[in-house]
């Protein structure tokens, strides 16, 4: 029963015209043209359309319901496809003998001429012009921030001290738990790493040097920066991006307040101020973590800290703090720039957040490499 009811079409040969009206043919539609069933593709009629289209200038195809004809959206989408193909072949469709509702829907769907599809923009995975745009906008943003900072120093900027404090609180104290966890673990990792190697020479006591110098010069600042890039850089991008979407940034501009002074500067200042403090905190905890491992193995606390007091210089701590200030600046710049150049949709906010974190981490690793080279050359 069901097989008989399958949707199919047939050229009605009985009414095949002979003579003057050669441009018109009748196609009969049988069966259930329903969305849940198999429906013929509109392309099946291409041959017929070509033939009819070539035969006459004003070719016409009459669509006629045949035995057991049923229809729903499935048929209508077939009909629209067929209509678009027929237009391409210069053939007209005549749906007048189909059910009335069918004709009405067809009229609705074809009432407005379809917009010609816009050519998709040529895209490669990484295009040079995109990178150039990125660099340009970063430099532009850097310039704006510099100008705003100069305005702040000369007392003309509309930066609110209360905002700086608010962001300081958000970035600093609120990040302490995660910094604690990560720093202790990194200290322990450093200690284990050194212990295995140094034990071969019976030089376990040098773990203290390794952990202390490793944390203060490098890992303290780097791990804090990575955490803040994910935590604060992303938050800045999302906050500023959402403000773009809500037209809040526009509202500031039309109030006569420069967004860079009012929104960006407090965030950057807060992060730059908080980074060295968190870094020192991270150094201390990292060394404590290393001490835990060392004591669990062969050393005593006294040995460990005695050794540290001999080798750890004030220089190493300062070098790490200087790094952390640079990192803080870069993370805040990446986050704020991503937010301020965010598009006007919720998807754009997501992209801005991603960009903030990725760029932030790339910047700080590159800067770290450069700083290490400079430190080495200068003998710091």
């Amino acid at each position: 029963m069901q097989t008989n009811n399958n949707a199919h079409w047939q050229l009605d040969t009985s009414s095949k015209p002979s003579g003057q009206e050669s441009g018109a043919v009748t196609v009969e539609l049988y069966g259930a043209w329903l969305i849940s069933r198999a429906i013929p593709k509109a392309t099946e009629l291409d041959e017929l359309l070509t033939e009819v289209g070539n035969s006459c200038d004003e070719a016409m195809i009459h669509l006629v319901p045949g035995a057991g004809f049923e229809w729903d959206t499935g048929f209508m989408s077939f009909l629209l496809q067929l209509h678009q193909r027929a237009v391409a072949f210069g053939v007209k469709l005549d749906p007048s003998r189909l059910p009335v509702q069918c004709g009405q829907l067809f009229q609705l769907a074809t009432a407005v001429k379809p917009e010609p599809p816009s050519a998709p923009a040529a895209r490669s995975i990484v295009s040079l012009s995109e990178i150039a745009d990125l660099v340009k906008s970063q430099l532009h943003f850097g310039g704006e921030v510099t100008l705003a900072f100069i305005a702040l120093l000369s007392g003309r900027a509309r930066t609110r001290f209360a905002d700086c404090l608010f962001f300081f609180q958000q970035t600093g104290p609120n990040a302490i738990p995660i910094i604690t966890l990560i720093s202790v673990l990194v200290g322990m990792i450093l200690a284990y790493l050194g212990l295995v190697q140094l034990r071969q020479f019976g030089a376990q006591v040098y773990i203290a040097d390794l952990v202390a110098i490793g944390m203060t010069r490098e890992m303290g600042a780097l791990m804090t920066a990575v955490i803040l890039a994910g935590r604060t850089g992303a938050a800045y991008a999302a906050q500023l991006g959402t403000m773009q979407v809500n037209e809040e940034v526009d509202a500031l501009v039309t109030l006569g307040i420069r967004p860079v002074e009012y929104l960006v500067l407090p965030r950057i200042l807060a992060l730059v101020a908080v980074m060295p403090l968190l870094t020192i905190y991270s150094d201390v905890l990292g060394i404590a973590g290393g001490a835990l491992v060392a004591v669990g193995m062969d050393l005593t606390f006294t040995q460990f800290f005695h050794h540290i007091s001999q080798t750890l210089s004030f220089h190493a701590i300062l070098a790490g703090c200087f790094k952390s200030i640079i990192f803080g600046l870069l993370i805040a710049m990446a986050g704020c720039q991503a937010g301020m150049t965010c598009g006007r949709s919720s998807a754009a906010v997501g992209e801005a957040t991603t960009r903030a974190v990725v760029l932030g981490i790339v910047y700080l690793v590159v800067a770290d490499a450069l700083l290490n080279i400079i430190y080495y050359k200068l003998g710091i």
Partner: protein, 268 residues
């Protein structure tokens, strides 16, 4: 500056062309907004009304042409002058654009804190007064997310009038409001204009609003991408050369075939 020209035309738009990148939005716009006018920028959806407004408030730079405020060209002015001009404007946005991290009172207080030497107590009093003007007395400590869309728009208006601006810009003030709220907002705009003498520029396609408050206006067309007509709404409804304008203002209540035909004639 030159106050005399100010009193004639608050805003003059000359040969303005608007583009997004390379996409043309509108071209050859020429109109004057007189001081004390309620000037309506009207037109169908997607014709570039809001884009024109964003150019007029200096958010986007026009591709060509100029906009003069009291005879001074905004886009060729120095940044400091631009900031000064901006401070004499009040802008309300379609969504309200309130600062979501601040209470309503803090929102309204922001321009006062930034640009006046008033004391904290004085600012608090002014904020209460401005919120009361828009019917939001007692909502000082609410955050924008906690009030309705209509209230957000009114709070946005309170922020826009905080500094007693000379020119007030509205982007679709009654969109998304029920008819009664929309009508109250219209009345509020009229009363503000009458009591402060501000010039009002308003983007809308609400016919009721257009006729209730508009004293002058410009009609933008999406198809030809330019202005079809200027003048007061009544004048445009009754005497416009363009059937499209008359039909828009009459809510399409003219025979459509006649419209499109004469519309084409008029354009060609």
């Amino acid at each position: 500056m030159d106050i005399q020209r100010c009193s004639e035309s608050a805003i003059q738009v000359r040969n303005l062309t608007l583009k997004y990148g390379t996409r043309l939005i509108q071209q050859d716009l020429n109109f004057d907004v007189d001081a004390g006018d309620i000037f309506v920028i009207m037109g169908g959806s997607g014709c570039g009304k809001s884009t024109l407004l964003k150019h007029m408030i200096g958010l986007y730079k026009p591709a060509e042409g100029e906009i003069l405020y009291g005879g001074q060209n905004f886009f060729s002015s120095s940044e400091a002058e631009q900031q000064k001009m901006r401070r004499s404007w009040g802008v309300t946005y379609q969504s309200g654009a309130l600062f979501s991290a601040m209470t309503l009172a803090e929102n309204v207080a922001l321009p006062l804190q930034q640009f006046s030497n008033l004391s904290v107590a004085e600012i608090r009093d002014i904020v209460s007064y401005k919120l009361a003007l828009v019917g939001l007395a007692g909502y000082e400590d609410y955050y924008p997310a906690r009030i309705s869309g209509g209230m957000q728009k009114r709070a946005g208006l309170a922020r826009a009038i905080a500094m007693d601006p000379d020119i007030l810009f509205f982007d679709e003030p009654s969109a998304g409001l029920d008819p009664l709220s929309a009508q109250r907002l219209d009345e509020l705009i009229l009363q503000l204009r009458d009591s402060t003498g501000a010039t009002v520029v308003i983007v809308t396609h609400e016919l009721a609003s257009i006729f209730a408050i508009g004293s002058n206006g410009v009609f933008l067309d999406a198809e030809t991408r330019t202005q079809l007509d200027t003048g007061s709404p009544e004048q445009m409804l009754n005497h416009s050369r363009h059937a499209k304008v008359r039909s828009f203002l009459a809510r399409g209540e003219m025979s459509t075939t006649h419209n499109t035909l004469s519309g084409r004639e008029a354009r060609s």
